[in-house]
Amino acid sequence: MELKVLILRAPGINRDADAALACELAGAYPERIHVNRLIEGSIRLTDYAMLVIPGGFSYGDHLGAGRLLAVDLIHRLGDELERFVADGRPVIGICNGFQVLVKAGLLPGPLRQPPRVTLTTNESHQFECRWVQLEAVANSRCLFTRGIEHPLEVPVAHGEGRIAVRDEATLIELESNGLVALRYLGDGYPANPNGSPHAIAGLCNAQGNVLGLMPHPENAVLPHQHPRWTREPTRHEGDGLQIFRNAVRYAASL
């Protein structure tokens, strides 16, 4: 069966082709669809098995990263998206996509609660493009990081990737409810490139089917995308592919 993945496009989204390649390598059939097609109803989200909101600078990110695309999702696609999530279909937001999901209230969720978590300016106050190591959090509810036992080497490229919470209790809740999906491995900057508390790199919702993460697993799918391949043993694929493969496998199981 052809498993169709909707890769969301919007003005300023720029890693849509990268995400599409990752989905393809994971065995799915990605289609890059402009958000306006969903808003006008000519294309329906329910016709897809999985949704990816890729990285970029949606609408320029001038009012805080992801803010305007979050407005689109909530105010113009809210019901459809809520059904999609409630049906348990996988949603992955990467970088700007993560920021969009958080600003829209889909992460960590539940929807329509006063916002308690956001993503804000890196502690270094600068854009950070570098490779990091990620660990899949063992007790997480996330359905796509299960079975990932080795650290994942993937790049980050963002200026607003630091998790900020309303209060300390929120942070404890994120941890105890298994909503932290991925963590940066290693101590301090630059291992944790943005200064997120508890080295949080990715969050999921309580159902485990919505994952948002700052790093770019879609840019670590081919062996020669690795930054040290000229000095290390041959790889067959990039570490990031596991996340897409898990998500596609899960979507296929629904």
């Binding site: 082709a17 970029g56 320029g60 305007l68 956001t118 950070e128 000095r231």
Partner: protein, 974 residues
């Protein structure tokens, strides 16, 4: 009209507050509440307050501290791109709030109460694009209210008029005065040619006509210096030893010659020479299109263009660099290609320079702004910034150089170039405003301390998302065959774009249809505006609806504004006003050829010999590593996204901790195809101070060394030339330009590397308040684009394995003129200039390439600034291993062995199991076995049993990584 002020303050973070002004005739408090709630603040980290701005009521603001402080608020001037303000309007529309008509963004800074408001404004804002208000909390707020009202005021409507300029009656003095008053940058011969044309027409020109001719005939658009007839003289000198290898140098050495067009004689002819020796269809387009185009595989083509944006970056570094990146991306869109990589080469004054003269920004401020501008545009477009260089020299203090380049990828043969009469002229993308007027002619004048206030309109801020949207639809339009020709709207605006597209046919344009940012533009301003993010397309009438539908679907503005004709005339109207009616042939061929004089004086420093005996090797090495041109650029590189697109297979930073400076980045354009592209750069302005001929050869050699060092094929390498020079009317500057161009010919032909595109930026001079002229060092950037047959064979410069055998490839001569050892003041700048030996260099590069393809090379690094010692240090830093090297065989003088900058050399580490085959592969070439890679992380170099250098790699790394710490790379707000 109701006006509201929204203040947003971050919790717990020092930093400027964000202010928004919201205006709309029907804008209600309820609507403002909704905007504030959903759009304008993040409740987790920010608090917000809003109020109506009412002249009769004082403004209140809970986020203004009660303590006595100086408050400075900064906003873009009305008419300058305010992307954040526009985002608020867009967001409101998406929220369904249609009553918001205008939104503006401001930043509010707090300074000590005693701070000087004028000084503070100068530091926080760039006056030509931004405006400020300073006040103390508790003061009356009427001035603030008036400031806010001014920011959202509509421009006063004006009646469109076309003015006639009395040119026919003007004498020579008046002709020159007309040129200067209008910033037309036309000389007397050109003004006389225009006068003669209008005398024959029996009428005087309109403002629009004179401006159209000035833009078309500008240095920027017509390259009149490179096409000039040049009389070159010098004292005759001995021809080089092998005159057939250096034919153009031999000709110049004769003493006198006339060159009819530098571009034809040296650059285009070099390409013709190289291509006659090849029988493949590899170069698809050279010097014709907006970018050079090469075949890539059997089904694709790659394009490459490098541009400069120097003058704007001097006045407004962020906006100048920002729009520089945006502009070169549009060059690649102009050959219907998808931009897949960006590069930037930057030249600044010294970071520790004393306070600059009035009207000049400090090099540190320029550097920070330029880096931020590049980051903003490249990152937002989703194009990886994969390579480049950053140089520092006192000669760039008043005239920084910003080279921006873009590589494009397209299916072979999809770029249409067949405009037909009747095709519709469509302008696409951003709206037209009063910004960027006179950019083409502005780039042809020298900067002075008052330039900023006189031609501030030439400087702009980019809007990357508008360009990104346009990029997205253009590639779809190309695949669907919806246009018959396309070009970017750059210097000269619509006048140049349409004038060029319709040169062979004719065009008719109706300016009232051009979408404008605001009312009040005069017709000639619409016609000349260089507002960013616009492209012009020729669209067959039966494709127009499909194109407009595609644009609407992705919210890209596209507007038919006229059509191409067959009458050979350029006719421009604003409703019934006739703005331009010119003969296309006169416009494009009527410019009289410039005649220039070039007089060459050899640099006296070349006949001196520097004293090398006083140099302490370890001290020299540490000081070289700390020199900002050599020091690590990691801080800058990390702020550029070099991963997006997933094609970057050799990153700009390599090694154990990804701190090593790669010789060149490699991209793999198509994920399923092993073929790669390498981007290398050569730029040696310090040699240019002595002799631009040898500088040009050294730059070509350096660009090729870089690409060959990582695995690029020297026989599949094309190059680009970008000259940045002083005033070509000065005979000494012009002679240097001739020599550099001559070097380009000799180098390109000897290496077999064709030029496929080039550009020049002249008049990079500054005249200070006392009338003293300062020219930049003669600067030629050579950008190489090489194919890698298989990216899996690429090699990086980091040491990889202790025990590997280390070789030096290439001969070392004592060549210290223009060297970095001289730049750090350890020796006098003089002696022999680094000279490329064209008899051995091409063979060296080919043989090394064979060795790399055969898998015989574990690490390879080219030798450039600072010579062998610096290259060895960098390899050790990147690999976190040591080196033990013996330099006895290299040269009889150890300072020469360590620090001479002789070109065409590489340091190579080879697995001991492969040394025999490796030596065989390079037999007949100057190859020296120097030593081994060691586990002990120390750089240990000896000469005749004497230890020259014995420094821990950690020390080298620390010094090398601290060199650029003074450059701020943090996100500057606004």
């Amino acid at each position: 009209m109701p006006l509201y002020l929204v203040t947003v303050a971050s919790r717990g973070i020092d930093g400027p507050q964000h202010l928004y002004l919201l205006a709309g005739a029907e804008l209600t408090p309820a609507a403002v509440t909704s905007l504030v709630e959903h759009l304008l603040h993040d409740p987790v980290v920010q608090q917000v307050h809003w109020q109506e701005v009412n002249p009769d009521q004082p403004l209140t603001d809970p986020f203004l501290p009660k303590t006595d402080l100086l408050v400075v608020e900064v906003a873009y001037r009305p008419g300058v791109t305010d992307s954040e303000g526009e985002s608020v309007v867009e967001g409101a529309r998406r929220l369904g709030v249609r009553s918001l008509e205008h939104a503006r963004s401001l930043r509010r800074y707090f300074l000590p109460a005693t701070a000087d408001p004028v000084q503070a404004a100068a530091e926080l804002a760039i006056d030509i694009v931004q405006t400020t208000i300073a006040y103390h909390p508790g003061e009356q707020t009427t001035t603030r209210a008036a400031f806010y009202t001014m920011l959202v005021a509509e421009p006063t409507p004006t009646t469109p008029v076309v003015t006639t300029i009395p040119l026919r009656s003007a004498d020579d003095a008046e002709l020159i005065a007309i040129s200067q008053r209008g910033v037309l940058a036309l000389d007397l011969a050109e003004m006389r040619a225009i006068q003669a044309y209008f005398v024959a027409q029996g009428r005087d020109p309109t403002d629009g006509e004179l401006e159209t001719i000035a833009q078309t005939w500008s240095e920027h658009c017509s390259h009149k210096t490179f096409k000039a007839r040049v009389r070159y003289t010098q004292t005759p000198e001995e021809p080089p030893a092998q005159p057939d290898l250096y034919p153009m140098l031999t000709q110049l050495a004769g003493g006198e010659c006339t060159i009819d067009s530098l571009i034809r004689t040296y650059l285009m002819r070099a390409t013709e020479q190289v291509l006659t020796r090849r029988d493949d269809r590899w170069v698809l387009s050279a010097f014709v299109d907006n970018a050079g185009i090469l075949a890539f595989g059997s089904e694709h083509e790659v394009s490459y263009k490098v541009e400069t944006h120097n003058h704007p970056s001097a006045l407004e570094p962020f906006g100048g660099a920002n729009t520089g990146v945006g502009g070169v991306i549009r060059d690649v869109l102009g050959v219907s290609a998808q931009p897949i990589a960006n590069i930037d080469v930057l030249c600044f004054g010294m970071p520790d320079a004393p306070p600059p003269p009035p009207g000049v920004l400090h090099p540190r401020r320029i550097a920070s702004g330029v880096v931020a501008g590049i980051r903003d545009y490249g990152n937002k477009l989703g194009i990886p910034t994969v390579g480049g260089a950053v140089l520092f020299d006192p000669g760039y203090t008043a005239n920084p150089l910003v080279y921006c380049g873009t590589v494009g990828l397209a299916p072979r043969g999809l770029h249409p170039r067949n405009v037909r009469p009747g095709d519709i002229i469509v302008v696409m993308g951003g709206r037209t405003g009063r910004d960027g007027i006179h950019g083409a002619t502005f780039s042809s004048i020298e900067l002075t301390h008052t330039t900023a206030s006189e031609v501030g309109s030439a400087v702009q801020i980019g809007d990357p998302i508008t360009e990104k949207k346009m990029l997205d639809v253009l590639l779809q339009a190309r695949d669907a065959g919806l246009y018959s020709a396309i070009t970017d709207c750059g210097a000269g605006g619509l006048s140049s774009a349409i004038g060029e597209m319709g040169a062979a046919l004719g065009a008719e344009v109706h300016l009232q249809h051009v979408p404008c940012k605001y009312a009040g533009l005069q017709p000639w301003e619409i016609w000349l505006s260089e507002a960013q993010e616009r492209m012009v397309l020729a669209v067959p009438p039966d494709r127009l609806i499909a194109l407009l539908t595609l644009c609407t679907a992705e919210e890209v503005e596209a507007t038919p504004i006229g059509r191409f004709t067959s009458d050979g005339r350029l006719r421009v109207f604003y409703r019934d006003l006739k703005v331009v009616d010119l003969d296309m042939q006169f416009l494009h061929d009527g410019r009289p050829q410039r005649v220039l004089t070039a007089v060459w004086q050899p640099s006296p420093a070349l006949s001196r010999s520097p004293h090398l005996t006083t140099v302490a090797p370890d001290q020299a090495l540490l000081r070289l590593l700390a020199h900002p041109s050599i020091a690590s650029k990691e801080r800058i590189i990390r702020t550029y996204d070099h991963e997006v697109g997933g094609r970057t297979v050799i990153k700009p930073l390599v090694g154990v901790h990804l701190a090593g400076p790669s010789d060149a980045a490699v991209i793999q354009p198509l994920p399923g195809e092993p073929t790669g592209l390498v981007l290398g750069f050569g730029i040696c302005p310090r040699y240019g101070l002595h002799d631009p001929y040898w500088m040009a050869l050294a730059a070509i050699d350096e660009a090729l060394r870089n690409v060959v060092a990582v695995g690029g094929d020297p026989d599949q390498t094309a190059i680009l030339d970008n000259f940045c020079w002083g005033d070509p009317k000065q005979p000494d500057r012009m002679a240097g330009l001739v020599r550099a161009a001559a070097g380009c010919y000799d180098g390109a032909v000897a290496f077999g590397t064709p030029f496929i595109s080039g550009k020049d930026s002249l008049n990079n001079e500054y005249r200070d308040a006392d009338g003293r002229r300062v020219a930049i060092p003669p600067t030629l950037l050579i950008s190489a684009l090489a194919q890698v047959p298989d990216v899996r064979q690429c090699v990086t410069m980091d040491l990889k394995q202790a025990g590997d055998v280390v070789y030096l490839l290439g001969n070392t001569r004592s060549e210290f003129a223009g060297s970095h050892l001289a730049a750090i003041g350890m020796i006098e700048d003089g002696g022999a200039l680094p000279k490329v030996d064209l008899a051995t260099a091409p063979a060296t590069f080919r043989a090394l390439h064979r060795a790399i393809r055969a898998g015989l090379v574990r690490s390879c690094h080219d030798l450039s600034e600072g010579g062998l010692a610096v290259a060895a240090a960098e390899m050790a830093i990147a690999g976190e291993l040591g080196l033990h090297l013996v330099l006895d065989e290299i040269h009889s003088d150890f300072i020469t062995a360590l620090f001479s900058e002789t070109p065409s050399r590489f340091l190579i580490a080879v697995d001991p199991a492969h040394t025999a085959v490796f030596e065989d592969t390079l037999s007949g070439l100057p190859l020296f076995r120097l030593g081994v890679v060691t586990v002990n992380p120390t750089l240990h170099i000896t000469w005749q049993q004497q230890t020259l250098i014995d420094v821990p790699v950690a020390t080298l790394r620390r010094v090398w990584q601290q060199g650029l710490e003074v450059i701020n790379v943090k996100d500057t707000d606004l």
